[in-house]
Symmetry: C2
């Protein structure tokens, strides 16, 4: 289920081992003296997916600071930050499911469906609180500051998306503004965090920090676009979550935005009128069919490919060649080729 | 609307000025480049109430470190932490309103009632994220660490309360466990934070830190008990929020727990059966009447008075006499005498 499938290389073995450390640190941080809290927290483990964000932290550290690979303190901080990133991401999933009224996530029933919105709100808060608690164990305030700046932006993206719910005239510019903040900012900061840990500064001005941030951000945007595509084309069994929900919840996706922009005025008006009347399962199915027959999916895929191409060239220019750099390139490719 | 009514003393003038700094720092921290985010954040200002938590931070600092009163850097950190405490508290109010399905808070409609649960979830997250962002501007990781440890505990309290919703056999011990975590832990850490800032350690072992923590914690428990009493006896116009909601949402309060424990077995069974059938407005009114006629309210008030008495004697033993110490004593008294 990881974004990168393990192979025999030495670097994969190191990565697998460090991801296992992230998992155990995650579990240890959430442990409470209250059994009912532990039961809820254990449920979150089932949400674990591709480990994209912790992998970005770990591999960026290897690629940017190979000389730190045996430095126990530095690796400890990197593992901590990777765990924090996963915890923040899990919190957004738990709270997003309230937003989305989703009933299924990664083949398991969502917390809000099982235990009510109220438990989901508090469980998400518990995850966020522990993320900051863990992060402030690092004796560099810049670490917490950088993570918090990213989560500020994530929340702005969520609020902007909510503001534009059922705005069927949403343009590409606002769409990108939403996903840049909501999804890409955290991926960007994940790649940048090793530089924050090395320099002790949120913004050290180091070119490698800027390059890694932009690499992560572009990957994040591409990842979200492919999510949009899979929401229309994916196999629910493989993707493991309710499909077509973006539409049903009034969220415009890139293929739909392009589709609406590319059809004639009268067809667009008819489609928007249809959407405004309320989106039932039949309407979603009809629209999915129309988008699949048009150019919206190709257009979205091309956007994602262009972003991934840019991201790859920038790190190939900025970072010296290494197995870790190659792994970052492999992750970028996997964002496009993934089917779940 | 502040817990302490201003008078002519010099220390009140200082406090008023510092609370004004907290308000402006609060506003500055939440400012976004997105107008829709600012509109929501401005709404939160209307929730502002007694400023209990920032006042605890500010006055504890004055009482524990009078020699730091002119130290600009220390005062800057104290003001930051006071703002962080208010922001965390506001976040819990916004998220609590989702839990409670409350429709009215401090004479204004709640965010979830106005804009839906989804906006309330994200707005609360925005507040929490900014609280940590602001806190990590202080170059002492212990500051963020102490605040995060407290918010971990607050979330545990909320989850424990949720777990015991509609548990009509809830005992006093669990009741106190819930409010100690949910309400009192943040008040405790507010009083302790000046010691964290002075020593750079979450737990420096300084006796003054322990005394101030316990003072705040006892005040917090007493505050919550008086909230319970006001929920049964208060005037909705004065209290400014929907009353009787604790009951309607399946939350047992101290007066009710005592009432159920003090009536005979058959009356208790009848009351619990009544509660289990579902609590409508009439049932709430009948139960309120029964509690008012029994000893539950006096019992709860006595608990609060005992806690406040303990809290006052411990700081009178530990801290040298000063206007600031007198102000802490005044706050403790105000927790009991307040009518809103």
């Amino acid at each position: 289920m990881l974004l990168l499938s393990p192979n025999d290389g030495e670097i994969h073995a190191t990565l697998t081992q460090r991801l296992a450390q992230v998992e155990s640190r995650f579990r240890a941080e959430l442990l409470s003296d209250l059994p009912n809290v532990n039961t809820l927290a254990e449920h979150v483990e089932r949400y674990r997916g591709k480990m994209l964000r912790p992998t970005l932290v770990l591999v960026s550290a290897m690629a940017a600071y190979p000389e730190r690979d045996e430095d126990e303190q530095f690796q400890d901080w990197v593992t901590t930050v990777a765990t924090v990133a996963e915890m923040v991401h899990m919190a957004t999933l738990v709270h997003d499911d309230i937003l989305d009224e989703a009933e299924m996530r990664r083949r398991g029933a969502t917390i809000n469906h099982l235990r009510g919105n109220e438990a989901a709100v508090m469980l998400g808060d518990y995850l966020i609180s522990h993320a900051y608690h863990l992060c402030s164990a690092i004796p560099l305030p810049a670490a917490s500051r950088a993570i918090a700046a990213a989560t500020n932006t994530v929340c702005e993206g969520e609020l902007l998306q909510l503001h534009h719910r059922e705005d069927w005239e949403l343009g590409e510019r606002t769409y990108f503004e939403i996903i840049r903040r909501k999804t890409a900012s955290l991926c960007g900061v994940c790649c940048q965090m090793p530089v924050v840990l090395e320099t002790g500064q949120v913004d050290s001005g180091a070119a490698v920090g800027q390059t890694l941030f932009e690499f992560g951000q572009k990957l994040g945007v591409a990842f979200q676009i492919i999510d949009d595509v899979l929401d229309l084309t994916g196999n629910p069994e493989e993707v493991g979550k309710t499909l077509g929900r973006d539409l049903a919840k009034g969220k415009l996706t890139l293929p739909l935005i392009h589709h609406l922009a590319s059809v004639g005025a009268s067809e667009r008006e008819a489609l928007v009128a249809d959407l405004k009347r309320g989106v039932d399962d039949d309407a979603v199915a009809r629209l999915r069919e129309a988008i699949r027959e048009g150019e919206g999916l190709d257009y979205a895929r091309q956007w994602a490919e262009r972003l991934v191409g840019d991201a790859k060239s920038s790190i190939e220019m900025q970072l010296p060649p290494s197995d870790a750099r190659q792994l970052l390139v492999g992750m970028a490719d996997a964002v496009i080729s993934r089917r779940f």
